[in-house]
Assembly symmetry: C2
């Protein structure tokens, strides 16, 4: 088949842009304001249809979701699980408080169903990129309600710039079957989280049978490629030019209900 | 903290470009040649460091991995599993031939460990975007050895254009815990599949403990956002400007070994 002539616009790229020089975030910071300032400083003009993807940790920090492990009093169950994992009972106590159920426990590993429904190691509690205290170890929890945080951030940017963009709050999860963590969405506003494409047809008119796409997770994974996990300090990525259906969802749409999860 | 002045180049975006008007692929087609032609037709000049992500189906078609179900003779085990799932015994027979182990079976669902190590529904066998025969239903298997296919494609483009790029062959997989399929890498050449960042340090000098990133899966997910799953006909996505370590891996690196997979 001869290649058709170039159709102008057909190759307009989707752009992924890590906001450079994003400042450290502290409790009480206005993250919407920091994003607007960082985008202006970078010469970027935020637009309708942009997607802002944020490492969840900066939301957690702004919301004060930091805990000094020295101030945690482990219960009996925490000591039991700490024995099984070899982890600090204080950390385990926090993990259990954040969780609705333990999924798997092994030496060095605890995988739980978070009270928000996500299943991941350590209930998303992490120590990295947090300034440590001289008294006790500081850990950061995932935001109290990341969907609400995403919606609030979206609204604040709308108020500030009069533009309608989407917000995705991302975390990195390990997975059954496959090695390596990938970016996933734990908070979503202004775009679909789960894109139900059932009923659409393929190139030959055959109806798609099982095409429900984890779109917000794919967005989080794409942004994760630019975020770095360590010292790069690029916790905010702008995605521009991605065409998505206008439907709006939230990250909780991505949680597989217990009754259809064969791998609890 | 005052925003620093714009550093030129810091906001150079990573670009995701769906190759427009990519032709239908048939058995024996030279996919490298089709990619070079489609990129030229789109006014794109492929460059060192580009990543080409392909829907696995075009590789499967080029390699002739199509099967007419009418020519499949189901064995006893296939009839048993067909009974459990309500699926066509001929399709089940093919799935079992492609698999090393059944992971879960339910009404309407069969999840297997593919002989290549990936765990997914139907061993990756799919009917969509395949021209159907008047005699029997045509299905497409995943490529015989997608890592080898990716390496060959990379080599052919190198021979043709004298550039060194990376190739990722992508599929869409459902997942435990989370709804929706996401793009994953089943063939990789010219870039790391799994990026081991252990030993790196965070912003505060704390050594990262568990940072092994499924980089090629994140690349596949990013590309999947542009591919569409249905009639859009954009099975090839170019990713440009992504900085990755020079290490090379293959998709088999992403397979979690049995002994550390707690969710078999």
């Amino acid at each position: 088949m001869a290649a058709p002539p170039q159709s102008p616009g057909a190759t307009v790229p989707v752009q992924l842009i890590a906001l450079p020089d994003f400042p450290q975030v502290f409790e009480g910071d206005n993250v919407a304001k920091l994003i607007v300032e960082a985008s202006i400083a970078a010469g970027l003009i935020l637009q309708n249809g942009d997607i802002i993807v944020l490492a969840h940790k900066i939301i957690s920090k702004a919301e004060g979701r930091l805990v000094n492990l020295d101030e945690v009093l482990p219960g009996e169950r925490a000591y039991e699980v700490a024995n099984l994992t070899g982890k600090d009972p204080k950390l385990i106590e926090l993990i259990l408080r954040e969780s609705s159920r333990i999924s798997r426990v092994r030496e060095g590993l605890i995988i739980v169903r978070h009270r928000l429904g996500f299943t991941s190691a350590n209930a998303g509690i992490d120590r990295s990129n947090v300034p440590q205290d001289t008294i006790g170890e500081i850990v950061v929890l995932i935001p109290e309600n990341p969907d609400a945080s995403a919606a609030r951030l979206r609204e604040e940017i709308k108020q500030s710039l009069d533009i309608d963009l989407a917000v995705v709050i991302a975390d990195s999860h390990g997975r059954p079957f496959r090695l390596g963590t990938v970016g996933v969405a734990i908070g979503v506003a202004g775009m679909p989280a789960l894109w139900n494409r059932r009923g659409e047809h393929d190139l030959y008119g055959y109806e798609l049978q099982h095409t429900e796409v984890g779109t917000a997770d794919e967005v989080a994974s794409a942004a994760s490629l630019l975020m770095g996990q360590a010292a790069e300090g690029t916790p905010v990525v702008l995605i521009r030019g991605l065409k998505l259906p206008s439907a709006e969802g939230q990250a909780s749409d991505l949680v597989r209900p217990n009754e259809i999860d064969l791998y609890q």
